[in-house]
Structures are given as C-alpha cells and as structure tokens.
C-alpha cells in the first residue's frame, strides 16, 4: 500500500507571532489556556496520520474541531506552524510559491462546501476553470469539461449559469471541476453539508460509485457521522484540533478508543450505516441447479427448513425450491428440480439496512443478498435482522419506517 499523504506532528496555530503559543503548546497547555495567555487559537494540535493511495479518508468532528484547517494544510492553503505534511513524500511546507501552485494545479483538487462556482461563468467555463489557470488551450479544456460533465450527468446544462441550477447540481459541477483536473488527490470540505438529506444520500451513492471507477485518494471532511461511516474506508475523529481515533467504521463502532468517541457514536442510526452484505449470513444449506430431488429433501431435513436457494455456475442465484413442490416431484418419481424453481426475493449487497426492512416484510420467504453480478452472498432472515438491531441498540430507524 502506497502512502499518499502523511502528517507528522502537525500543529497549526492561527495568528501572527505564534512562537510563544507554540512553546506553551509544547509545554502541554490546553487549547483554552493558550487562548487566554496569547489570544491565539490552536487549529490543529499535534496530528499524525497516513493516508493510503486510493482510499477515502474521512475527517469528522464538531465545528471548530480543526477538520477544515487540517484539510487546508494538505494543499498548502494554510501552512503548518510546526511539524510536517507530506504529499508523495514531499513536505508541502517546504515548497516555494511556484511549486505550491504546481501542486495545487496538478496533484490536488478541492471541492467546497458552498460550491464556490463563479456566477458570471457558464457551467462549462466553471468546470474548465482549473484548466484555464493551467493554460490549457480553449478547445481542449472545453472538450475535457464536457467529458467531466457527462461523468456527473450534467451535460445538458453545460451552457447554463450556476444560478439556474439546484444545490445538488451545483455540487456536481463542483465535483466535475475537481475531476477534470485529473489530479490524484481530491480534498472535499463538507461537500454535501449544504444539501438536503435526500440529495445528500444520492450524492454519497454517486461518490461511492464514481470512486470505484476513478480510484482517487479522497480526503473527505464532514460533521455527519452517518456520512462518515458510509463513505470512509477509514475515519479520523477530531476534537479540539487533535485526532481521537483513526480506524475503519467497524473498528470504531466495535471498539471506541475513549469516552469521547463513544459519546460521539451515540445516537447514530445503525440502520442507515450497515448494509445488507454486512448483516447477511450464509444459509445452512443451499442446492445447485444440477442436483436432484433426493439431495434436496435430505438437505431440507438437515437444515430444518421448508425451502432452499438454488445456485447456478459461479454462485449465481437461480431461484428457490419449496418443500411441498419437491415432495410432489418425489411422488411422481422425478429426479430433476429444474421445473419447480421459483423466483425469489433479493436485495443488492449495498442496500442499507433501513431499506432492507420493507423488502423483508414483503418477501415470501427470506431475502437473498446479491452482489452487482447477481452472485449469491447470503441470506437475511427476520431473526438475523432483529438480532442485529438488538446488538447495536439502534432500533429507532426501523421503528420509523
């Protein structure tokens, strides 16, 4: 795994004449003591992390926790007071103006909370803005901007002005403007924070599927825990400028580092975070479509069930067979089960738990979980669902729906 971004003992103190404040900080004084003493704010307090190439690294914290400050240290919009920040093993704080501009123009792109679209430019010209700064010829940058707009599904809006677009669309333009630069690193500063809940969920989905295709290193700042758990390959929880815990969603949920993190996690709605795949189990028995009636009866007896999922080549789900039908076949002395395979209810593996629930309620038997190629991953039964909710004490989401 390649380390793309690395912070080493990063400290950022706002204001001029930070020497004294830094000294106090190194002596171990708290943030509020330093404000009282010097009037300066410690934005980032001795932070260390490594971000691997191609991962989505989410920084989460309450407002004022220093997450946006940390983000801006990565592309040198803010310079660290002490410590280092490396991008591709080069210390950002040691770059001169020209190198810094090159870093921003070629290696790192940014998406902003309030979109920051220039109101006097068309959508195409907004998307092409970075290329224009870089000096790309007009024809080429128009072409590339339009390709990026196709990627975010806004090609028909290319000649419109930002004021004619909705919030969600504006942020898609913001995303296209970052994508068109074809840089390795994407910094996203609460990009969906200004959007309403429905659009936000939609944008998160899109970002996930887009990321599968582009595989950038994404640093994503948010204050929304659901969003963090949903998007982040790894998550850093910040408080008062320091990182409290870094880890995958599972690690943090199952093993909170301290009381603050635990408190932070309270009140989150697991039904919105866990997906079908993470709660599904492999059934006790399945059957291949090539197998016969007697095998089917034997397995049903063994698993104490009245139905079996039928799998084809490469675990593709074909359907299910019911016990009563198999018994009928046995009476007629038939051996192949092919004629009695029925359709079965299924969900995609990335469906969130909240959406799994109504599907399960309407299902004839249990729910099969499939990956995007239709392969069988497991089953969700009523008892599995209830058990999961009980374990995680997060049932409110289900009760609502």
């Amino acid at each position: 795994m390649n380390i793309k971004i690395e912070a080493k003992n990063l400290v950022k103190i706002y204001g001029e004449n930070t020497d004294k404040a830094l000294e106090l900080f190194n002596q171990g004084l708290s943030r509020s003591e330093i404000i009282q003493e010097t009037g300066l704010t410690v934005g980032v307090a001795n932070v260390n992390f490594e971000i691997a190439e191609g991962e989505i690294f989410v920084i989460i914290g309450l407002s004022g926790s220093g997450k946006s400050t940390l983000l801006r240290c990565i592309n040198g919009l803010l310079m660290p007071t002490s410590g280092s920040l490396f991008v591709d093993d080069k210390a950002v704080e040691k770059l001169n103006e020209e190198e810094l501009r090159k870093l921003r123009g070629e290696k790192i792109s940014m998406v902003f909370q309030h979109f920051a679209l220039l109101p006097n430019r068309t959508i195409t010209d907004n998307v092409a803005f970075g290329l224009e700064l870089r000096g790309t010829p007009l024809e080429e940058r128009r072409k590339r901007a339009q390709e990026a707009l196709v990627k975010v599904g806004l090609e028909e809006w290319k000649d419109k002005l930002p004021s004619e677009l909705s919030g969600g669309m504006k942020q898609r333009v913001g995303l296209a403007r970052a994508l068109v630069m074809d840089s390795d690193i994407l910094l996203m500063d609460e990009p969906f924070g200004a959007l309403d809940a429905l659009i936000r969920a939609e944008m998160q989905e899109e970002l996930i599927s887009l990321q599968r295709e582009i595989k950038k290193t994404v640093v994503f700042v948010t204050h929304d825990l659901d969003e963090a758990l949903r998007l982040g390959d790894r998550i850093a929880i910040m408080r008062d400028g320091a990182i409290e815990q870094v880890g995958t969603a599972d690690e943090i949920l199952s093993n909170p580092a301290n009381e603050y993190v635990e408190k932070f996690l309270q009140g989150i709605d697991v039904s919105k975070i866990l997906d079908a795949n993470s709660i599904s189990k492999w059934p006790r028995e399945v059957i291949r479509e090539t197998e016969g009636v007697s095998v089917a009866l034997h397995r049903m007896k063994k698993a104490d069930t009245d139905y079996l999922f039928v799998l084809g080549a490469r675990n593709k789900l074909v359907g299910m067979i019911l016990r009563e039908d198999v018994l009928k076949l046995a009476k007629d002395k038939q051996t192949s089960i092919k004629d009695i395979i029925k359709e079965t209810d299924s969900v995609q593996s990335n469906t969130i738990m909240r959406d799994v629930y109504p599907e399960l309620r309407n299902a004839e038997k249990d729910l099969a979980v499939l990956d995007e190629n239709g392969r069988f991953l497991g089953v969700i039964t009523h008892s599995i669902l209830l058990m999961t909710l009980d374990e995680r004490k997060g049932g409110d989401g289900i009760a609502e729906s």
Binding site: F112, A116, L118, F129, L133, R177, L187
Partner: protein, 302 residues
C-alpha cells in the same frame, strides 16, 4: 480677562507655498500635460463637430440602443435633437468631450488605486482621509490651484473635474473587491491561481457591478463639475449657464440647464446598464453571432 492669543497656524500659506514651488520647479511637466490634454480634447471635439449633428445623433442613438434598450434610445435621440434645436449643439459636444476625457483619466487612476487599496492595509488607511478630503472640499476651491498650475482654459477644468470625480471609482472598486466571497478566492488559489489570476478571473469579474456603479457616479460628478469648471474658461454648456446667470437671462438659463440635464440623463442610462448583467441588445447580437458560427462549424464538420 487675559486674552488668549495663539499664533495662527500658517496652513493655507503652506499650501500656497507648495503650489508655487510646484509651478517654479515642475513648470515643464505642467506645460507638457497642458499641451497634450489640449491637443486631445481639441482634436476630439473638432472631430465630433465636423460630423453633421443629424448623423451624430443617429450614431449616438444606435450606440445607446445597443447597450440599453429601444425606449432609452428613443428618448435620447429626441433629447439630443432638442439640444440641437436650441442651438446649443457645439457647447454640448464640448461638454461631452470634457466629461469623457476627465472620466477616462479619473478611472485610469481611480480603479487601480482601489485595487491597490485591497492589497495594502496601510495604503487603505492613508487613502481614506484623502478621499474624504477630496469629496467634501467645496469644488470651487480646486479651481484656484488648477488655474495656478495650468492657466485659464480647458485643461485646468479637466484637472479640477478629475480630482472631484475620482473618489467614487476608488471607493466602489475597493468595496466591490472586498465583498467578493472568501470561498471564491480560496477556490481559485486551491486550483493553482497566482495573484494576478485571482484578480483578473475572480475579483474583477465578481466586483464588476460595484465598479460600474463607481463609473456611473464618476460620470455624474464629472458633469456637475464641468459646469463649475466653466468659471475658469473650460467652455461648453457651463459657460452658457454662467452667461445667463450674469445677465439674468431666464430663457437661456433654462435652455442651457435643460441641455445639461439631457446630457446627464443620457450618460447615466448608458453607464448604468453595463456590467449589471441585464440583457442588452449588444449581448443578444453577440449570442446570435456565436450560435450562427457554431451552426456553420457543425455544418462544416458534417
């Protein structure tokens, strides 16, 4: 009661000494400036007066239509025709030239000054009282050093007009740029812009409405000053106003005053729409031309 007599500070004397020092030592420069400006304004008004008023009014009408709308253009043409009818056409052209040249000079100095003020706190702090001074000092006072430096004529009138009309573009340029959202500037920097690019591609376009309001104010102040400047021989409509006042000629006074009002209104309407983002015929024509070209290109490639 003992009388408290403090010696009077020789402020006025100091200024006078300074101006006299300027005349004595920099006379060559002032002569040069006077000759150049005289030549420019002279050529400009001669050129405009050479064209027959009917043609000129039609040309103005079309220009005004392009950057405003039909109604404004119609009223402007009627107004200008009325001035011609009143026999004040040459004076109107002279005044127009004076205003245009003064405004151009004021903008060339004022807008860059406003930009520089956003870059330096010290300059901003220093300029604030200077601008207050320039705006509140009774405009007649500027006439005195103007005459001392440039003699009688068009150029001292220009000088006084420029000083009087400069503060709005400075202030409104500064205001416009400081009101550009921080996130926009940050965005440009984050995409690799240098200072010049931030100014040219973000700050100036986004503060254009404010800057254009400054241009509009500059023109209005220029017109009002041009009348006063006629006291020192700047000519034009102001001179007619002065003459009518000294003769108590109400008819002439009304007519010349009305001509100034017409000129002011025409210039105001023209400068008000530019940069406001409103649809004007000119932008529609440009759009149509672009579409036409695109169509042609598509046809050619097909």
């Amino acid at each position: 009661m003992p009388s408290l007599e403090l010696p009077k500070l020789p402020l006025g004397d100091a200024i006078e000494w300074f101006v006299r020092w300027l005349i004595k030592n920099l006379d060559l420069i002032f002569d040069f400036v006077r000759e150049v400006l005289n030549a420019i304004t002279g050529a400009f008004s001669d050129g405009l007066l050479w064209v027959h008023p009917v043609f000129l009014i039609i040309i103005f009408g079309v220009l005004i239509w392009l950057i405003t709308n039909k109604l404004t253009a119609l009223f402007s043409v009627v107004g200008l025709a009325l001035v011609w009818n009143m026999g004040l056409w040459p004076q109107l052209v002279n005044t127009l030239v004076l205003v245009v040249v003064a405004v151009v000079i004021a903008l060339l100095i004022g807008i860059p000054t406003g930009i520089l003020m956003t870059r330096s706190r010290k300059l901003e702090g220093a300029m604030r009282p200077v601008l207050d001074f320039m705006q509140t000092m009774p405009p007649f006072v500027y006439l005195i050093p103007a005459v001392m430096l440039f003699g009688i004529g068009v150029v001292p009138g220009l000088f006084a007009t420029v000083i009087f009309a400069i503060p709005p573009p400075v202030r409104l340029t500064y205001l416009g740029i400081t009101q550009v959202p921080e996130e926009m500037k940050e965005m440009a920097v984050a995409f690799g812009a240098n200072d010049r690019q931030v100014l040219a591609k973000v700050e100036l376009p986004l503060s254009l409405p404010s800057i254009m309001a400054g241009v509009n104010q500059c023109i209005m102040l220029g017109i009002s000053m041009v009348v006063i400047a006629s006291m020192i021989g700047a000519g034009g409509l102001g001179e007619v106003v002065m003459r009518s006042v000294s003769r108590l000629d109400l008819a002439l006074g009304f007519e010349s005053g009305l001509a100034i009002v017409i000129l002011a209104m025409v210039l105001d309407r023209m400068s008000r729409n530019i940069g406001s983002g409103k649809q004007i015929p000119l932008s529609r024509i440009i759009e149509r031309y672009k579409k036409h070209r695109k169509k042609k290109e598509a046809e050619q490639s097909a």
